[in-house]
């Protein structure tokens, strides 16, 4: 029987970690570490920069442990209707994260990126997030049509 809708790569977790001159982020899904990078910004532009990254990376779950990033992340997540959490994720050892996601060493070579990558992987493994709904299609025949 053909699938009506293709399977989605969820959860897609975005982890944010504060660094010296801004913050680092990493995006992971159950298959791979999708991306990792650093954003340079001042305190004044931290909120918009976080919102911009969330909008760009399109996660289904945002996770951070930093107090300064928590507020902007929660506000942006609420606006986009996704989950933001900092709830007790277990500390995933780097060795295990690298074993599960071998690309972590290459995509996140600095300590800050690596920390964000491990947090994103921990969120994929342990956090609970509601799945994203498909956008309604105008011409999809209704299942409950009379």
């Amino acid at each position: 029987m053909p699938l009506r809708l293709p399977p989605r790569r969820e959860p897609r977790a975005l982890a944010l970690v504060r660094s010296q001159a801004g913050f680092s982020y990493a995006v992971a899904d159950p298959w791979e570490l999708r991306s990792a990078g650093s954003i340079l910004c001042r305190d004044l532009t931290l909120g918009p920069a976080v919102a911009r990254v969330i909008r760009r990376e399109k996660p289904t779950l945002v996770v951070t442990h930093d107090r300064e990033l928590k507020g902007p992340a929660e506000r942006a997540a609420k606006r986009l209707g996704i989950t933001a959490t900092d709830a007790g994720l277990p500390n995933l050892p780097l060795v295990i994260a690298t074993d599960l996601f071998p690309e972590l060493r290459m995509r996140a070579p600095t300590p800050s990126l690596s920390k964000a990558g491990v947090l994103a992987i921990a969120a994929v493994l342990y956090a609970e997030s509601p799945s994203r709904n498909y956008a309604p299609r105008r011409h999809r025949p209704s299942e409950h049509s009379t």
């Binding site: 990792a36 990078g37 650093s38 954003i39 340079l40 599960l100 071998p102 690309e103 060493r105 290459m106 995509r107 996140a108 070579p109 600095t110 800050s112 990126l113």
Partner: protein, 294 residues
């Protein structure tokens, strides 16, 4: 009834380590010419019979590509299938991605390009196997490396330039992490279009792109070309894009210098930096220090 290989990887247990090494290398390089694969695994005991057995079991896809459409010469290549990736994971626990059917059905020219990219990756893997370099990772899926840069200059419309390098090779040298973004050129793209691409790379570098996107400061863009004439043409185009200024960020090399058989040339002075003297050459990858290797 469909026959299924019951032995993991269709390989005797004593050859399992070889199978893991070779198939993981094939997965990371994605498309590998048969000759290069034999050069990579031959010293460890890889034979054509083993490759044939893997192809029959569906672990590897074997195909042919035509490097030059005007010549009858063909190159035989292999690629790890998705079934092969699953079998490898089941037998060894290594997570790798196979080449999808859609990629295998692409045109001969595109597959030939992928074979050349695989050649670069396999050369780096061969050097790492010998312990000559400390390889952190190789990525040959251009879709995972793609990014874009916006250029806004006064008096001109803002431009969005898509940068889609063919491969990324990350190593750890004596001074820290180093990376090479590889662009394989087969003389099929106009120098003007390549110039726009170089303009994008230079703008990306000015915006601290290497550090922001890959977390590596010592990143260079290597363009590999088939011959010296093309190298000169692209060098001139890149120099014009950079306003005549020299830069060590863009380097140029020949495809023949980066093969599995000539892998040690990666450690020699073979690449021409942008704006350097005609005879000036730089090293592509820093070797592991002897004390570290010991």
């Amino acid at each position: 009834m469909r026959l299924v290989a019951t032995v993991p990887l269709n390989t005797p247990p004593e050859l399992l380590a070889l199978a893991e090494d070779v198939l993981v290398a094939a997965a990371r390089a994605r498309f590998v010419s048969l000759g290069s694969l034999m050069a990579y695994g031959g010293p460890d005991g890889l034979t054509l019979e083993i490759v044939d057995a893997w192809c029959r079991a569906g672990l590897l896809h074997r195909g042919r590509v035509q490097p030059d459409p005007l010549r009858a010469e063909e190159v035989e290549y292999v690629a790890l299938t998705t079934a092969g990736a699953r079998a490898l994971h089941a037998a060894t626990g290594r997570i790798v991605h196979g080449t999808t059917a859609a990629r295998l059905k692409r045109s001969s020219q595109k597959r030939m390009h992928d074979v050349l990219v695989g050649e670069v990756a396999l050369a780096a893997l061969a050097l790492a196997k010998e312990g000559r370099i400390e390889l952190v990772g190789v990525e040959t899926d251009d879709r995972r490396l793609a990014h874009a840069v916006h250029i806004a200059e006064p008096g001109a419309e803002p431009e969005r330039i898509v940068l889609q390098p063919d491969a990324l090779v990350v190593t750890k040298g004596p001074m820290g992490h180093e990376a090479l973004l590889v662009e394989v050129d087969r003389s099929t793209t106009a120098p003007k279009r390549m110039q726009l691409r170089y303009k994008g790379y230079l703008a990306w570098q000015k915006e601290r792109g290497p550090l922001n996107d890959f977390g590596i400061r010592a990143l260079r863009v290597l363009t590999l070309v088939p011959n010296d004439a093309r190298l000169e043409r692209l060098h001139a185009a890149a120099l014009e894009a950079n306003g005549g200024q020299r830069s060590g960020f863009l380097i140029f090399g020949l495809l023949d210098d980066v093969t599995v058989c000539t892998a040690e040339r990666l450690l020699e002075l073979v690449a021409r930096p942008l704006g350097g003297e005609p005879g000036q050459r730089v090293r592509l990858i820093s070797p592991v220090l002897r004390s570290e290797a010991a």
